[in-house]
């Protein structure tokens, strides 16, 4: 059952990602990217990481996809010019791919079946965020508040 689910989700996610990479209309690509995000969230669910899956949907579909879509909407006109091949892009893509492959083959995989782990509850995540990881949490909060105020200051160009 879980193998069937794995392959269904994998095919869905890869198809969505491929569509996102190959559609010529940017908005379609962005919407397909949102689909791929949902597929990844489904992976987290099937692995038992409920909280991460929900956060994935919440942040990536609810916020990042909307941000991407608005960026496309507000920055460029849809042009009909054929897309040319760019060497710089290919080099960056190859470098990222090679780096990922290298990292995957370098990391040791545990042999045999993975030991059974009790599913992590939201409560445990909350407690560790508020005790051992409270400083990183506060720093991220400060950073995000700064970003929010900075965005307001950037777009507000009216006389007081």
């Amino acid at each position: 059952m879980s193998t069937v689910a794995f392959f269904a989700i994998a095919i869905f996610t890869l198809a969505a990602a491929l569509a996102a990479a190959s559609f010529s209309k940017l908005i379609h690509a962005a919407l397909c990217l949102a689909l791929a995000f949902i597929g990844i969230a489904a992976f987290y669910f099937s692995l038992g990481a409920e909280f991460v899956g929900l956060a994935q949907v919440f942040i990536y579909v609810g916020a990042v996809a909307v941000l991407i879509v608005f960026t496309i909407l507000l920055t460029r006109r849809e042009s009909d010019a054929p897309v040319q091949f760019k060497w710089s892009g290919a080099v960056v893509a190859l470098a990222v791919f090679a780096g990922l492959i290298w990292a995957i083959f370098k990391s040791p995989l545990p042999g045999g079946a993975a030991p059974a782990v009790a599913p992590l509850t939201v409560k445990q995540i909350g407690e560790s965020l508020m005790t051992s990881y409270v400083w990183p949490l506060q720093c991220v909060g400060l950073l995000l508040t700064g970003a929010l105020i900075g965005a307001v200051v950037l777009v507000m160009d009216e006389k007081p």
Partner: protein, 396 residues
Amino acid sequence: MSGRFLDQIFISTKQLLLSFFSGAPNWVLQLISSLINIAALLGVFLSLFALISVLERKILGRIQNRYGPNRVGPFGLFQPVADGIKMLIKEDIVPLRADKVVHFLAPIMMVVPAILALGVIPYGRNMTAFSIDGGILFFFAVGSATELAVFMAGWGSNNKFSMLGAMRAIAQMVSYELPLIVTILPVVMIVGSLSPDAIVAAQGAYWHGIVPRWFVFTPWGATAFILFFVSGLVESNRTPFDVPEGESEIVAGHMTEYSGFKYATFFMAEYFGMFAISGLAVTLFLGGWQAPFGFLQWIPSYAWFFAKLCLLLFVFIWIRGTLPRTRVDQVMNFAWKFMLPMAFACIIAAAVWHYQGHGLRGWLWSAAVIAAVYFALSYFLESRKRFAPRTYRFAE
């Protein structure tokens, strides 16, 4: 005994249905169980949608001193059937230069999150369609996909009014999602769980045997409930916050280019969103399916839930019949300058309530916190306002 039987009648029926498949493997049983849940959910809420759509017109008619629909069936009760047939046989017009696929998918994307969100609400004792550990988080996670659907509707129609309406809708939905989520934090803090079932269970007892321990009867809970309700009005694009579809400015917002059944789907999504938000408000603050008095517990739990739900829906309609539409910039100012600080004040008040013991002292202290923040906000927001000729920020 009979009360217990009535209370669990739907659960028993489901068990009876499942017992026909007792020989099947486990995953088939799970699948059938889920399908029964989904069918029940859709059946109940589609009927409620039909009922509320005619009741809304009747109540609005009463408020505006006219009759409302009264031609089809007794008291006009079959009006939704007539409307449904009309919507189904209407011509489906798609603009020539629209993005066909996105235009087609937008209404579906709109209604799916609303139905998914309905799945995690406990409708009665043991009556949660999908009980998961992070149910509240799930509710908002799927709800946040609505913004993308609104964008798809606006962009896919290739129409300036659609796009402007979609941008207004997304702007206000993003802004009010913040107070909406911050106002549920006090409840989550006090209960210590994100599961709706646990939240309802925590509101089960009674103070001195009379007053139910619903969170709305605490100062922070009452404030959070009001803030949550207002944010819910905005999230479901209802009056007085229906600027995205303000017909005097931008035809019908992101729904301008939709006709026939696609338009009806948008309408349905709006109502389902309203049911979901009201259902969550009932779960979080009004005690879910708990009875208001101990001696009334013999009435089945789902009856209490739907009674509270219908009460909130009536308030939605009442507000629609009473208040005029707000301006776009007023909506935004209200979110960031008033709603958000008040929502944070609720968190602090809940913490004070918790650490002062859940008794009278905690009640008074947390009321003091709320009052202090409220008066400070009112003072600072009003202090620079003078009577002067009106200035327009966005139209010169």
